[in-house]
């Protein structure tokens, strides 16, 4: 059994409920124990960092300090939490004065951070520590014949806190392969979906999503898989907005990679939160469920 401090991220309580549910569901068959970081708070987040970089580092530091006490690696399924926590971690280690100011602030909550936490993305753990080879041995219902577009989004591989190539990431392709499915190659697999600007600059984001959906479909994809809560929500919940704006009729299910892995492991639809998916994946997955 491998033990991790688990950081679900705020979206796990709302838009990305399916990611958290399915991450927990696949942990058991993979002999992983995801121990939720007790009483975690927001990771710091990109919007917070944009309005006040230093303060967002102090917000992140509370979680890092809590994680340090566990002595475990801090694993998050959310690409955005991963980048935010990694960035705060790096800045704290590189800027001694900032570290001491942050520690002075953490002291009011009886916390202290020394810079010893390793922040990891769940997909990276699956790739490097669990490995696709072992994942393949747990597959009960191989997804043979299923054409999947692995969608990395941005923060799985950029900037370089992680492990995957920023221009030609491969982790999701390998994971999809290990399930018996076919990872469809398509050039936009690591391009941006618009992120949170879908709220404030919808036209910009819908245009980026249209290109992604078109690129995946034109290369034969029957569904998309992604690790990122924002990407999943955008492509899933706003797919109908893309369709009405561009007079298209995309009907492409968007699954979290953890959901796809779970389907191949023979877990049921409820265990994987498949009912939270807005574009229904049941038809495409019918023969595997």
């Amino acid at each position: 059994m491998k033990y991790y401090a688990y950081f679900p991220g705020c979206s796990s309580e709302a838009t990305a409920a399916g990611l958290d549910i399915s991450a927990q569901a696949i942990a058991k068959p993979l002999d992983m124990e995801l121990i939720e970081l007790e009483d975690w708070t927001c990771c710091g987040s990109t919007p917070y960092g944009s309005l006040d970089e230093l303060e967002s580092i102090a917000v992140a530091a509370r979680n890092l300090a809590l994680a340090e006490k566990t002595g475990l690696d801090l694993v998050t399924p959310c690409s955005s939490c991963f980048v935010t926590l990694s960035k705060a971690n790096l800045h704290l280690k590189e800027h001694r004065e900032l570290m001491s100011q942050v520690n002075e602030a953490l002291a009011v909550a009886n916390l202290e951070y020394h810079g010893d936490v390793r922040v990891r993305l769940l997909v990276e753990v699956l790739m490097n520590e669990i490995t696709p080879k072992v994942i393949a041995t747990k597959v009960k219902r191989p997804l043979n014949g299923l054409k999947v577009a692995p969608y990395y989004g941005c923060q799985e591989a950029r900037p370089n806190y992680g492990f995957d190539d920023p221009e030609f990431p491969l982790a999701l392709d390998r994971l999809v392969d290990s399930l018996g499915a076919e990872a469809v190659p398509y050039p936009l697999k690591n391009h941006c979906c618009g992120g949170s600007l879908v709220i404030s600059e919808e036209d910009l984001a819908l245009d980026l999503m249209r290109k992604l959906l078109a690129n995946a479909v034109n290369n034969g994809a029957q569904c998309i898989t992604t690790p990122c809560p924002l990407c999943q929500t955008n492509l899933d919940a706003y797919q109908s907005r893309v369709n009405s704006k561009f007079k298209t009729n995309y009907n492409l299910p968007v699954l979290f990679i953890t959901q796809l892995i779970g389907v191949a492991f023979g877990l049921n639809s409820k265990d994987l939160g498949l009912k939270t998916n807005i574009v229904p994946p049941q038809k495409v997955l019918a023969q595997y469920l």
């Binding site: 705020c10 709302a14 917000v59 009011v108």
Partner: protein, 185 residues
């Protein structure tokens, strides 16, 4: 030596963690060429960097340019000088907010403020509350247009109306308050 106008703004930007690379830019334009939203920027990403170097503080901080940054980090991984443009744009957004520049061309600052206020109020982001506040403070009528998306999320159990109680909320508030004192002093 007396500081020039340019010097001061470059120093202000480079003093924030992540902004150290500002002096390394060679204006190759790779960031602009890599940016998925560059066509929406009032000044292009590389243009903004040149303007920082030229000390055009108020011109940049009052512009909507950097608020179109999607944080995709393509510019950052492709920059041949390791300038980290994404970090620079976040720093500019932060300075613009700190000094109270009002941006009319985009609602991204209002969206970010709603997001951060949700974190401060709940300890975690409560997405429904964040969206509610955002539409209330910008354009309540626009919320009607987004109602179908919201209802879909709600009916798929992805948009709880009430935030969860987070025990650490008060500790987080105290940490933020203390950090403000420490960094200010």
């Amino acid at each position: 030596m007396e500081k020039t106008r340019a010097n001061t703004f470059v120093e202000e930007v480079s003093a924030v963690p992540g902004g150290e690379g500002i002096r390394l830019c060679i204006q190759c334009g790779t960031c602009t060429a890599s940016c998925p939203s560059a066509t929406r920027w009032e000044y292009t990403p590389s243009g903004v960097i040149a303007m920082i170097r030229a000390g055009m503080r108020d011109e940049i901080l009052s512009s909507s340019s950097m608020w179109h940054c999607l944080s995709c980090y393509f510019c950052t991984v492709r920059c041949p000088r390791n300038v980290k443009p994404t970090e620079l744009f976040h720093i500019l957004e932060g300075l613009a907010s700190q000094y109270g520049f009002k941006i009319k061309e985009t609602r991204t600052p209002a969206m970010y403020r709603s997001f951060v206020s949700s974190i401060k109020g709940n300890g975690r982001v409560h997405e429904f509350g964040m969206m509610f506040r955002y539409y209330l403070t910008t354009n309540p009528l626009a919320a009607l247009k987004m109602l179908p998306v919201g209802l879909q999320l709600f009916s798929h159990r992805r948009m709880p109306l009430l935030p969860r109680k987070v025990k650490g909320k008060d500790d987080l508030s105290k940490i933020i308050q203390k950090f403000r004192e420490v960094r200010g002093g």
